[in-house]
């Protein structure tokens, strides 16, 4: 069943066209997040916290209350808001740099404390806004602005697998999954599960979204899709932790 509207109702239509580059996977993921907010009917109680990086370009995308935070601090700000107003649905949106590098400690601690927030993390294998430098999630042998010979195992170690890192320390009430921005229905279901876990007051929810960055990968549309599918072989797309009794 195709949604009736080509633009989610929770998007600010007057701010379109949005600021993302052509073919950006983040804007695909945010469109699906918009449909998830529409379907769950939570537009008037959602708080959207965005990080620094390409993720901040979404600051005027949603017609919901929005907080813009500092580098890597979307998680603690979202946790603080949730403590102050437990009935709000708090979404923290960040990139792989914000979540796995500068803000990694907050992500791990929020997961250990089982804070009842939903974190959405975009993994596009580089620092996109600053020109495509190496990120914790850059694949081995991937060429970026700071690894012109490719990322080497001996120098930089293995790429970081976020959900795999969080699953062992998460409680049984946590929902942890990885999805891909190209898969509309799969990602919509994942978002709805992650938000429902928070609405039902169960626990921590975390979704990593594999996403495309055609500008910094220097790929056309077909090559971007091929690249993100190659990423999905290294970062398996699945649900790592599902609490009992979670609604879809």
């Amino acid at each position: 069943m195709i949604p009736e509207n080509n633009i989610p109702k929770s998007w600010k239509k007057e701010e379109l066209p949005h600021k993302f580059c052509p073919g950006c996977g983040q804007s695909e993921a945010l469109k699906i997040l918009g449909y998830a907010i529409d379907e769950l009917g939570i537009q008037n109680k959602t708080i959207y916290a965005s990080d620094i990086g390409c993720s901040l370009l979404s600051w005027n995308m949603f017609d919901v209350d929005t907080i813009q935070t500092h580098h890597g601090r979307a998680t603690p700000v979202a946790v603080g808001f949730k403590h102050a107003k437990p009935e709000a649905v708090v979404l923290a949106f960040m990139g792989d740099g914000g979540g796995y590098a500068i803000g990694a400690q907050h992500l791990i601690n929020a997961c250990m404390r089982d804070d009842k927030i939903t974190i959405i993390l975009i993994n596009n294998a580089n620092y996109a806004m600053t020109g495509g430098q190496m990120a914790p999630t850059t694949l081995l042998e991937q060429i970026t602005a700071t690894t012109p010979q490719g990322r080497k195992l001996a120098d930089f170690g293995l790429p970081l697998h976020g959900p795999e890192m969080l699953s062992p320390i998460a409680s049984d009430n946590a929902y942890i999954a990885r999805s891909i921005s190209n898969d509309f229905w799969g990602l919509l279901t994942t978002f709805k599960k992650a938000i429902n876990n928070q609405i039902e007051g169960r626990g921590f929810s975390f979704v990593e979204v594999l996403s495309m960055c055609p500008v910094n990968w220097k790929t056309d549309a077909q090559e971007s899709i091929n690249f993100v599918e190659k990423m999905a072989e290294i970062y398996p797309v699945k649900e790592f932790k599902i609490p009992e009794g979670l609604k879809c």
Partner: protein, 281 residues
């Protein structure tokens, strides 16, 4: 009118504005370098938004015989706009003496109405459509560069071409230099004929492109960014690029309605929400 602009007493103050990526800074840099080469005092200052791709990109350019005290200015002799959004960025630099150069195939009347009372001298050139038809939309900025040279009598077209070919000497695309030169010549020639026509495009928000008894396929030219995802992912290959352009100056998709099965995948995956598919029962 032409002569008045040419004989501005305190040098030429030029403001160029467009979307990031349209080549605003390249043409400003080439003009500034050429003016410096022929012994003029010149100043060029780029200005674009904070830490963000896209958005309006503005270049402040001054060429004078006297010393230039400050790189910015309050009113410009020539204002060149390449996109709708850049009109907001240049509004405050206009006065009755300013020559306003714009591309009528690219700018909407809705935006031109904001400045209709403030400008009297207008040069309306058809750059983008000509570039798409004859060369490539990549060289649209060079047509504007050629048009500007008509108002900078000290700078010869040959000087500009020399500086440009020095700049592009290491370019991978050797054809680009030739295309740039042809675009400059075209721009220089059409700017001779002035017109005072401040009329742009009447673009509709939604275009009803194709329909048959069972389905309608609509697109939003103001949202589409030509990312090509819909064309690549269409399961029946019903989509392709058309010759019409969107707000960024890149090609819009079109549909072969006979092939289309109204599966709606293009609507689902479009990151910009620029496609709408309706299936009738």
């Amino acid at each position: 009118m032409l002569s008045e602009a040419k004989s501005a007493p305190s040098g030429m103050k030029i403001l160029i504005s467009g979307e990031g990526g349209q080549g605003v800074q390249i043409i400003s840099e080439v003009i500034a370098k050429t003016a410096h080469k022929i012994g003029k005092n010149t100043s060029y200052m780029p200005q674009f938004g904070v830490e963000q791709r896209g958005g309006a990109s503005v270049a402040f350019l001054q060429i004078a015989d006297k010393k230039i005290i400050y790189p910015k200015f309050s009113k410009a002799n020539i204002v060149l706009v390449m996109s709708n959004r850049s009109i907001d960025a240049v509004k405050q630099y206009l006065n009755q003496e300013t020559l306003f150069i714009f591309d009528s195939t690219n700018i909407d009347n809705e935006h031109l109405n904001q400045i209709r009372n403030e400008v009297t001298k207008v040069l309306n050139i058809n750059a983008r459509e000509w570039a798409l038809k004859n060369l490539s939309t990549k060289v649209t900025n060079m047509i504007f560069l050629g048009a500007l040279l008509q108002y900078l009598p000290d700078i010869k077209v040959e000087d500009i071409k020399n500086v440009l070919s020095d700049k592009l000497i290491n370019s991978k695309n050797a054809e680009l230099i030739d295309m740039d030169f042809r675009a400059i010549d075209y721009g220089y020639n059409i700017a001779r004929e002035e017109n005072n026509n401040l009329n742009g495009q009447e673009t509709k928000e939604i275009e009803n492109i194709s329909q048959d008894d069972n389905k309608t396929w609509q697109r939003y030219p103001k949202f589409c960014k030509s990312c090509e995802l819909c064309i690549v992912r269409c399961p029946v290959k019903a989509l392709s690029f058309s010759n019409e352009l969107n707000y960024l100056g890149t090609q819009l998709p079109q549909i072969d309605i006979n092939k289309c099965t109204a599966c709606g995948l293009c609507q689902l995956i479009c990151p910009d929400g620029a496609i709408k598919v309706t299936k009738k029962n």
